[in-house]
Amino acid sequence: MSENLIQVENLTKHYGSVRAVDGISFDVKSSQVVGFLGPNGAGKSTTMKILSCYIGPTGGRARVAGFDVLEKPLEARRRIGYLPENNPIYDDMTALEYLEFVAAVRDIPSATRAARLSEISTLCGLEGVLGKPVGELSKGFRQRLGLAQAMAHDPDILLMDEPTSGLDPNQIVEIRSLIREIGQRKTVILSTHILPEVQATCDRAIIIHEGKIVADGTLEELRRREQGNRYRVVVEGPTPDEARDRVRSLEGVLGIEASSSDGACTLEVTASAEGDLRRPIFRLAVDRGWTLLELRRDAATLEDVFRKLTRE
């Protein structure tokens, strides 16, 4: 399946005079893990709530698996698994009762229901706690139960709103690896304001700020596009001034800083995202007879990109 499972066109949501979501558009293909990234209050949760058919948009359209969230909400909901922010679950039920309730509403045939529930509990690591009341579960197990709820009907699309908030580092690693595993077969959108989470789990990031999409692409693309490349060069032989002037004349160099220490000359080069400066630099060094001690290319980190895009 290569069709777009999620299509969002010019989506807007106003709360009173506040524009929580302000004309965003994006498509998501199947079997993609997309990170919805933004500072708190950027409109991530609102978008998730619209996609899950909980609230309606003020303007624009959103289609899930081809079904409009306003016109065919039931069809859309059948194809979505949704884990809301803070993962609310009925505290007075046991984990198993809760999953059975969800399975019944989700119309999982009673003949296969028990098998499906035990499969999903194994996948989410819930076997030991099924008989416990939800109120007594630890946060990690609670989150797993929320995931199990969202995946009970084997949906094509999983929406997760801050799936790792409030977990301890070990639990975070476990939940992330679970998400990665699921993402190989499903389309996953997860919202977060934690950057390493996106780096650890997502193929693609959509950065949203004040209700607008400010960047959208694979992690690699984002880093390059927004910041270009940085090179660190250490050579022996030329004076810092000579080295700086020679390197500056190479194509694509935007800025350069030179310093010298221990007889070697260190250059910090900023270059445009296109092309690779490592080869020309190496050839330059060979031609001039410099000794190349170090040559390294760094992409801008996602943190740099995120801060730059969302600081205004």
């Binding site: 909980y54 039931l74 979505i80 809301p84 007075d92 509403v105």
Partner: protein
Amino acid sequence: MKNVLIIACRELRSFFNSPVAYIVLTVYLLLAGYLYFTQLFLGREAEMRGLFELTPLLFVFFVPAVTMRLIAEERRAGTLEVLLTLPLTDWQVVLGKFLGALGLLAVGIGLTLAYPFTVSKLGDLDGGAVLGGYLGLLFLGATYAAIGVMASSFAKNQVVAFIIALGICFALFLAGKLVGVMPRAIAPIVDYLSLDSHFQSIARGVIDTRDLVYYASISGACLFVAQQSLASRQWKG
């Protein structure tokens, strides 16, 4: 319909998983039993009218206590977001919750069946009137429950839901008692609106379509408002 029943069952189970059901049922049975039997022994007549006369007032307090959490608590805890993103219509959610509450009331009303059973051992009991009275109690409970569901759908907080429902139920109850002092022009309207006057005829064993229409229309209107109140999340800011 299947989904309505799934929700109703979940609500019923949740009532009995928490102390609410036991407290409400115990207090209701204690109060109803005490008030009814003191009157019965004074009246020295084997009849159930006493119970049917006090229940409308008791229900004014007990039904809102049962219904207050239905939607308000889910909204507070956030589980409403899970429930309303499952493939359920808003109507199924509202009706399911209404039926769940009605189920608990039916248990409470059912437990009082011990009274007519006891009384029938003491003297001659009019079976038809008892049957009619119990039907009337169910209709009355359903109407109060619909009002309670509506109040719970407005409120973010159980206490607020309780007070709104109690206010509306009490006003409808009181209307019947005040007909006598109302100006002649509006007395019939007030009389029609009062729960009491419709209940009295059923409690006498007379099942009149007009009374049924009354209960059904009040319940239907309240449930409609509750459904609209849930649906308003779609457009409200």
